[in-house]
């Protein structure tokens, strides 16, 4: 079963260069571990939410706006798609994501069509 692990966190964390480096190393280590186990399907980091564009189609008209301008402090900052036998296995991976330490990780099963 495939699960998407959505990593939410604050963008205004003001980390030092050393802290950013340590976090990156932690992500690289996790990537290697997941890839070795064959659990990694995909994973990317997102550019800041200030670069986001929102598209809505209403009545055939595309409405393109800047944003989202959600007032929430935690924004989507990256994701993994992992292959895991069940929810407990997916949660076990989510617990290892560095972003879970100061943000949160939402675990969502992917729809299987067919």
């Amino acid at each position: 079963m495939k699960y998407m692990l959505l990593i939410y966190g604050r963008e205004d964390r003001n980390l030092s260069e050393a802290e950013v480096g340590a976090e990156m190393q932690a992500y690289f280590a996790l990537n290697t571990e997941l890839a070795t186990r064959g659990a990694l399907v995909a994973g990317e980091a997102l550019m800041p939410v200030s670069t986001a564009t929102t598209v809505r189609v209403r009545g055939g008209e595309a409405l393109v706006t800047d944003g989202p301008f959600a007032e929430t402090h935690e924004v989507l900052g990256g994701y993994y798609v992992v292959d895991a036998p069940d929810l407990d296995a997916a949660i076990a991976i989510a617990k290892k994501i560095p972003g879970a330490l100061d943000g949160s990780v939402e675990v969502r099963p992917l729809v299987v069509f067919g």
């Binding site: 036998p85 069940d86 099963p109």
Partner: protein
């Protein structure tokens, strides 16, 4: 209802959890398993009045349910359900007749998968109210209507709550297994919390249908006993489950004395202790001793120990309050909460005098200002110091905050007896 019919209903209830757990293990799908069991019960209601209740009703129901699931879903349009049945069919002999199956089943022992079902129902990915509802429905065999009545929601709300939880179990693939050792302590805590919630819903609430509430206590005790029997005997991890069961038994032992003839609540102080169930008290204390011997202290054991001290006192005046204060202190250290602190303060008032109680109570004034039992406790201490005017004022506050009519009536009775001259 005839005796036989009642016996059949009772058998359904008793075997429900075990048979359903086995079927879910077999089909990997709650709905398929429930429909199949439903079908098997319908057939049993037709056949058992003639044939008598089989020697191994669980095996009979399981065998018939599996066959029915296959018949029912062979033409099912729903892919997931069909897959579940196909999956469950593997290794199942399709050529035998139902009679042969049922015959064969008499000797079969079906594996007990209730522990797996318990962990699935209490998975932390499910909301606590859904965990509790699922356990009552699937493991205890309560109907949607009974479960709804117990939690004072409409049957529609309860049905939706259960359906949502079952869909999440299926769609997010919440595992149907006993968690790995590293997860076991955490998940066991969730299971125990759900069981204790069921017990408290039956024990603490003073409104609603009393019959169903009594049943909740019984079911919680049954679930707790099952958990204790299933975990490795006398393993350190079993200490808190033993403590939980001991706690429920010791509380339940006092039930006969907790209500007066008119249904009013009788306080511990005023209870007729001869009406306590001393067999249950003996069982509870023996179990608590066994838990403590395992050397892994926890909040359920501490609460059970407090309850045991109350149960052992022949009269209220004989209560070992200093030891109870110590136990509440330990509980407070482990789980700081204003309500535990309130009990600690009340016990201190009993052990060391009303001034000691009031000193501790004053620290809780802000946290518990909207909590009727807090004002009641302050009023009781004030009254014991002789300050009836202040006591009366606190009783009035408690009365205004009390949640139900019985509680209000009780506070009024206290107020009258403490009325300033």
């Amino acid at each position: 209802m005839s005796d036989l019919h009642a016996a059949i209903e009772r058998t359904f209830r008793d075997e429900h959890g075990r048979v359903l757990a086995g079927l879910i293990g077999n089909f990997g799908d709650f709905d398929v398993a429930e429909d199949a069991l439903q079908d098997a019960c319908v057939l049993a209601l037709k056949q058992w009045p003639q044939s008598g209740i089989p020697a191994n009703p669980a095996a009979w129901l399981t065998s018939v349910a599996k066959r029915r699931a296959i018949d029912r879903h062979r033409r099912d349009q729903n892919f997931t359900r069909q897959q579940a049945v196909i999956h469950g069919e593997m290794g199942y002999d399709q050529t035998s007749t139902p009679e042969a199956e049922a015959e064969h089943a008499l000797e079969d022992t079906i594996p007990d998968e209730r522990l797996k079902l318990m962990f699935t129902c209490c998975h932390p990915a499910l909301a606590v109210d859904a965990q509790v509802a699922l356990m009552l429905k699937s493991l205890c065999g309560l109907t949607i209507e009974e479960t709804a009545r117990a939690f004072m929601v409409t049957p529609v709300t309860m049905a939706q709550r259960i359906a949502r939880a079952k869909h999440k179990i299926r769609d997010a693939r919440i595992p149907y297994s006993v968690p790995a050792p590293e997860l076991l302590p955490e998940r066991l805590t969730a299971v125990m919390a759900a069981i204790y919630l069921i017990f408290n819903e039956g024990y603490a609430a003073t409104s609603g249908d009393s019959l169903i509430r009594h049943e909740l206590c019984d079911e919680a005790i049954r679930l707790g006993a099952f958990l204790c029997e299933t975990l490795p005997q006398d393993a350190p991890i079993a200490a808190e489950p033993y403590g939980l069961l001991a706690l429920m038994l010791l509380h339940h032992a006092r039930t006969p004395a907790r209500q007066d003839a008119t249904g009013g609540l009788v306080r511990l102080k005023d209870q007729d202790r001869t009406r306590w169930d001393h067999t249950l008290i003996a069982r509870g204390t023996a179990l608590l001793d066994r838990a403590i011997a395992l050397g892994r202290r926890g909040p359920y054991q501490l609460q059970a120990a407090i309850s045991a001290l109350h149960c052992e006192a022949r009269a209220y005046a004989d209560t070992d309050w200093p030891q109870i204060v110590g136990l509440y202190g330990a509980l407070l250290e482990m789980h700081p909460s204003p309500v535990v602190a309130l009990n600690h303060a009340i016990a201190s008032g009993e052990a060391f005098g009303p001034q000691a109680g009031l000193a501790l109570l004053s620290e809780l004034a802000e946290a518990l200002n909207a909590y009727a039992p807090y004002h009641l406790a302050v009023a009781d201490c004030l009254r014991r110091t002789g300050d009836n005017v202040s006591a009366h004022h606190c009783y009035q506050k408690a009365h205004a905050l009390a949640g139900n009519a019985r509680e209000k009536a009780f506070i009024r009775s206290q107020m009258t007896s403490a009325a300033p001259e």
